[in-house]
């Protein structure tokens, strides 16, 4: 019942080479920077994990967080809606060099595919992308005179997400727009690891205010005062730090 994990290193220790990993956040808001950096630390120390498939709305910004993960060569494939950012060079250069794969998914379809993965819905129909290049090869069907595209669920081996409060059972709240993809990814991964800004006892979150019930969470690690990607990028930060 107690899902607390003592350290960031331990929290990411089980992610194997080739894993599919959902990473929460929309741009920097809700991005679990410390969990991502712990994964990089492990890779630098052990050479693993690599060949990851990463699911996130974006493909990194600057040289921290997901951008740093990509920059280390740990990511074989990105599944995202918007691989652009203020500073998308890391992804862009690898992509144009053919060294990283991209599956581009409309943002609402990405969200719904993840939700479907968590909800046991293997496929659903959406009007989104009908008649466009992103619908190529997908089944289409007509309902009530309108055309729709069939989309498949998206699941992951691991989800790395960021929450505000987390109790020992894994019940979570989020902070403002940092909620975004985090609750969906929590539901769609075999193992969901959460960095919470504050760990509380069971009962420390009003049951009305729980956004992610603990049933979707396998591990929580407390990271007080987490870093914001936007702030790091404005300071031109690199991870790991580049020696001057």
């Amino acid at each position: 019942m107690d899902k607390r994990i003592a350290s960031l290193a331990e929290a990411v220790a089980d992610i194997p080479d080739g894993a599919t990993v959902m990473i929460g956040g929309f741009g920097g808001s809700g991005a679990p920077i410390e969990l991502i950096h712990a994964l990089i630390d492990r890779f630098l120390a052990t050479g693993s994990p690599k060949n990851l498939t990463v699911i996130n709305n974006n493909a990194g910004n600057g040289h921290v967080g997901i951008a740093a993960l990509i920059e280390q060569g740990m990511v074989a494939k990105m599944i995202c809606s918007f691989p652009r950012s203020a500073d998308p060079r890391v992804f862009t250069e690898l992509y144009l060099a053919g060294k990283i794969e991209l599956e581009l998914v409309p943002q609402g379809t990405l969200a719904e595919r993840i939700r479907a993965g968590g909800a046991g819905i293997p496929a659903f129909y959406t009007p989104t992308s009908y008649g466009t290049d992103l619908a190529k090869g997908k089944p289409v069907a007509e309902f009530e005179g309108r055309a729709y595209v069939q989309e498949r669920w998206l699941k992951a081996d691991f989800a790395l997400i960021k929450a505000e409060l987390g109790d020992h059972y894994g019940n979570l709240t989020y902070r403002m727009a940092a909620r975004n993809f985090n609750p969906l990814m929590a539901s769609a991964a075999a193992r969901t690891i959460v960095q919470v800004s504050r760990a509380v006892e069971p009962g420390g979150i009003d049951p009305e205010q729980v956004i992610t019930p603990g049933i979707f969470v396998q591990g929580i690690v407390e990271v007080p005062n987490p870093q914001q990607e936007e702030v790091l990028n404005r300071a031109n930060a690199y991870y790991p730090e580049v020696s001057a």
Binding site: M1, G118, G120, N171, P202, P207, G214
Partner: protein
């Protein structure tokens, strides 16, 4: 000499297989009783379809809050660490494979794992509730039931005769006489009342009972 287990004793036996920290849905009625018999030192988290995770026992009569009920519309209480959510999120937990165990009642169970527990046929008003979702959602679907019907007919059959709730979904049956697994389309006997011979049990079971290793004595406390 025990000739058959009471419902409470069947529920007790089923409760022994629920691990600490397991997320569990108990069907309305008889299966709700399983919650009372969690072994000491273990704490399961109970889910109810109508949007509560982590509920506790019934409140004292007169202290009910009718906004806080379970799927059987009975008043419940909350444990620390509980959560509320809407019906779609609740069934995302069910259908998405997040529950460890669902324990349901049965009219009939077949050796292929088929379950019939929602309709006794075309007469009367049909009602299904969440049973069809639970049987295809929980990682483990177990049944608790009397071994035979009120008029003594087998409830464990080669094939169900009543409308199905789900296909090939049940993996373990706790009855008033035995504990039986469903494995590769066969009933495999795991435990039986010590007072009962294999042949006596087979005689009240509507499909062949297989053996796969030793059969333990089904021993439960007086309750």
């Amino acid at each position: 000499m025990t000739t058959k287990l009471s419902n409470a004793q069947i529920a007790w036996r089923a409760a022994q297989d629920i691990a600490d920290g397991a997320y569990v849905n108990l069907g309305i009625g008889f299966p709700e009783m399983v919650a009372k018999f969690q072994p000491p030192g273990r704490q399961a988290v109970f889910h109810t379809e109508n949007g509560v995770l982590g509920f506790g026992e019934a409140p004292a009569p007169g202290t009910e809050d009718w906004d806080l009920i379970n799927a059987g519309k009975k008043a419940i209480t909350l444990k620390p660490g509980a959560a509320f959510f809407h019906h779609a999120d609740s069934f995302a937990m069910v259908r998405g494979g997040h529950l460890d165990v669902a324990i349901l009642g049965a009219y009939e169970v077949a050796e292929n794992g088929d379950l019939a527990n929602w309709s006794t046929g075309p007469k009367g008003v049909p009602a299904v509730g969440g049973a069809m979702d639970l049987v295809h959602g929980a990682r483990r679907v177990a049944v608790i039931t009397d071994h035979v019907t009120k008029d003594g007919k087998p409830k464990l059959l080669e094939r169900c005769t009543l409308p199905l709730t789900g296909v090939g979904c049940v993996t373990r049956i706790y009855t008033s006489l035995a504990v039986i697994d469903i494995d590769n389309g066969r009933f495999v006997l795991r435990e039986k009342l010590p007072s009962l011979s294999f042949d006596e049990l087979q005689a009240v079971t509507g499909a062949k009972l297989h053996l796969d290793g030793p059969v333990a004595d089904l021993i439960v406390p007086e309750i």
